[in-house]
Subunit: 214 residues, 2 copies
DNA sequence: GTCTATAAACTGATAGAC
DNA sequence: GTCTATCAGTTTATAGAC
């Protein structure tokens, strides 16, 4: 809570932790843009305003940077989704919880696009060692949605002629991909989230009488 | 129609065109697995059973291989979709045409996963020069779906409270992503396509009376 | 905490033998 | 049509000055 600009006495450093964060942010942006292997540490260093050698003061290796970028991509989304759903009344219907989850997933994703898009684009392209570490947090988030959907199914609010696993994979996959084509110039985020939720809930066809969102 | 194993008289070649196809196939597989920049031509050559230098007899550059892999990814899907829709009766309702399009898109994609997944994964990560060339065939396929959806909208079969552009981007994006998680061991392809189509048409919630698919 | 300099390995692409 | 050999440039990571 006190003065954060209290600089060290030695050399020409200002704030080591800020540099670390800048490296992570620029790494996410470049991983998203060019892929993991294609991104050189020199590029990351240039973008973060330091020299390549300096990166190794903050990180042990390129793969450690990758690990932090990947985890951050999921965690941002996961935390936003939980916050949205926890804010609902205890007796809220499952459809409202799912709607809150969709809105939270979209919000977290589209407001931290470099981390989430990097995660989505490069996860399939990284060494198995990096995948293995990251799988834990991925599995957690998937389980969270599975429980949500199974509860909705048990309450009779979810369609029963498709497996909840396929529903989860389809919905999360569709949401994830929006970060690749979402264009804020086409309208407000709220309106965008409303349209996506309507399509996921009621489909793309016209129905005589919809009991989904209205 | 005659003997295809008629080999040339010189050196130790068997069939030049088959080698070319093998290089393309292995390149697609490796681009999908590790990304474009991360894949070395030595790896491609090894996988295709030739030496690195030999690639340059069949292709001018790494970027030319990329171009052919990308185009093939879209064209396979586009041609399957058109074949499915053209096979319908002239007076088929738009919902049937869209269903045929979805089934064709899934089929083309899941049966040529290396080309379509490579396309999807690396398109956002390649040099602008490669993107520009590839954009033409992408735009064509997008236009095809836009016309399909706008016709369905004009006929009153498509929901009108979301733009056809958003519907197209959402549906195609969701379909594309299935190649990342589709597991043939979970059931037949026909059953998979049926579930996906049902979700896209009628949504994930339960409706009192659905007029979509039955 | 950041720098410069450098090691050791790998990259796309070319030249020319067979 | 495929090979070997090689060029010029780039890569991650380390060592040590400041």
């Amino acid at each position: 809570m006190n003065d954060k600009s209290a600089s060290k006495s030695a050399g020409h450093d200002l704030d080591g932790n800020a540099t670390r964060e800048r490296i992570l942010l620029e790494a996410a942006r470049l991983f998203r843009q060019h892929g993991y292997a294609a991104t050189t540490l020199r590029e990351v260093a240039d973008a973060a305003g330091v020299k390549a050698g300096s990166i190794y003061y903050h990180f042990e290796s390129k793969e450690q940077i990758l690990g932090e970028v990947l985890d951050k991509g999921i965690k941002i989304v996961y935390e936003t989704v939980r916050a949205r759903i926890d804010a609902l009344p205890k007796d809220a219907p499952w459809r409202d919880r799912i709607a809150a989850g969709i809105e939270g997933h979209l919000w977290g994703m589209l407001h931290h696009g470099d981390f989430t898009s990097a995660n989505m684009r490069i996860y399939g392209q990284i060494p198995e060692s990096a995948k293995a570490k990251h799988r834990v947090v991925r599995r957690e988030y998937a389980d969270y949605w599975d429980q949500l959907l199974q509860s909705a199914l048990a309450a009779g609010e979810l369609r029963a002629d498709a497996s909840t696993t396929i529903i989860r994979l389809f919905v999360i996959g569709a949401l994830n991909w929006t970060v690749e084509w979402y264009n804020p110039e086409r309208g407000s985020f709220q309106d965008f989230a409303r349209q996506i939720t309507a399509i996921i809930f009621d489909g793309i066809l016209v129905h005589e009488k919809s009991l989904g969102t209205q």
